[in-house]
Symmetry: C2
Subunit: 271 residues, 2 copies
């Protein structure tokens, strides 16, 4: 029972706590290649998907759920290093309204563009400069549900490891291939493999229901404010729009992505 | 030019500011029947939809957009009372990252259940105990885009006037009939008018693509955590599910609502 015992950390200037805190900033994540997850569901899904867990942080006073306690014990026994935090310090490491007392540091898992070779049935998603971390995480969650094979993160600040993104993705991050590249590199990649490129825009020429998907293909979703860049619009085979009633001129980007992903998924499953 | 001049308020204990601040709380909104909106787009859409504007609050130092300035001037000249706030006080009245310098107090506009009589083609939405204000606002935004004729807010704490909901709805609140009632009252209403009742759940028996909508009908969306109540599940004609791949067991509630609303909309427009 006493192998690999976890230290207790309660001081805000303890370097072990400061290292964890730094992962809440873009700089900290970029410098280390690590990110934070929190909650039983997230840690369990990371383990299930063999995500590279570096260490655990626990607040035993909050970890009352029996499954969560067993999970923490199993990870400790399997050799994952970790620390215990005071409730006050633990609270600062999560956006959750009700923190669950178990969190982990995970290595970012980027796949290189040159390692991505689409199969004849594969379907990819490209997201460019999504402004809202919550929208980005929600889109990645829907991507998993609809059988997407890889998510291209396009743009300078693409950071799927932002705490609000990780949270909204509900564990889908661990099962997705994530590729970071420029708009130009993505367009080149798609062209070289004969991938059908479909972009979404409120001013797209084609009603999305008139599109016949073929595979391999890729759906591109742009920034909430600016939409897709000229480079990606020029690279597209089709620009589709969601028709709209009422006086609004757009719908939420994560909802639009969801409607389009389900349309693709329905055509693929013949529904 | 000097008719109806607006006072300048810069003290945090000024009662005019405190009244505005109180509308950020559920109690303040409930007590007064009012709520806050902020931003040029929101105020413009409120005017367009003849929403009952009670007063304006402005921060002239932020209101640089010419269209926004004209809008403020026009409202002042038409007799809408208002105040100017210091940047510091104005900042406290909005969730926006970049406040736009124009906001308003609006009367909540509930429609009574007894005044709602569905036509042969009408389509309603019922939302029950949605936990996330952002999700609720996003759902109302998609409802407008897909031609929904009325939104039933079911549950004790139904509050579409919460600042994050108002913000996410992007002005769609003003154009929707909003009805507050209990699950039982909603079920009675739907039954008495022969409305087809469709509920959504990850464990629904019917794949949503197998559903043939007929009108009048109503889609019911439940809480992210608990789903729909027993009362509404029993009242439903069909419980539909969105099929899912991967290891996730659900998708975001606003995305699920969006996929189902667009499916209904597509059947109605014959796409």
């Amino acid at each position: 029972m006493h192998e690999n015992k976890y230290c207790f950390v309660s001081k805000a200037h303890d370097p072990r706590f400061l290292t964890l805190r730094s992962l809440q900033t873009p700089q900290g994540r970029f410098r280390t290649g690590l990110y934070l997850i929190e909650g039983i569901r997230h840690v369990a899904r990371a383990v299930e998907n063999q995500a590279p867990l570096q260490s655990l942080f626990l607040d035993p006073s909050r970890l009352s759920n029996p499954y969560g306690r067993r999970l923490a014990r199993r990870l400790r026994k399997s050799g994952v290093p970790g620390i215990h935090l005071s409730p006050h310090l633990y609270r600062q490491l999560t956006l959750a309204e009700e923190p669950q007392g178990i969190g982990a540091v995970v290595s970012q898992n980027w796949v290189s563009l040159t390692d991505v070779c689409p199969s004849q049935t594969s379907f990819s998603l490209a997201v460019e400069s999504i402004d809202s971390p919550g929208n980005l995480g929600t889109i990645i969650r829907t991507a998993e549900a609809t059988g997407v094979n890889g998510v291209f993160m396009i743009g300078q600040n693409a950071d799927p490891w932002e705490p609000a993104t990780v949270r909204a993705s509900m564990g889908s991050l661990f099962s997705q291939k994530l590729i970071r590249c420029s708009a130009h590199e993505f367009a080149e990649w798609a062209r070289s493999f004969g991938v059908l490129i479909v972009g979404s825009s409120p001013t797209g020429l084609l009603d999305y229901k008139a599109l016949h998907w073929r595979w391999p293909s890729a759906l591109m979703i742009g920034s909430e404010k600016q939409g897709l860049s000229e480079t990606l619009i020029e690279a597209s085979d089709f620009m589709v729009r969601l028709p709209m009633m009422g006086r609004g001129d757009s719908i939420n980007a994560a909802v639009a992505a969801g409607v389009l992903l389900y349309d693709m998924f329905n055509q693929r499953r013949g529904a």
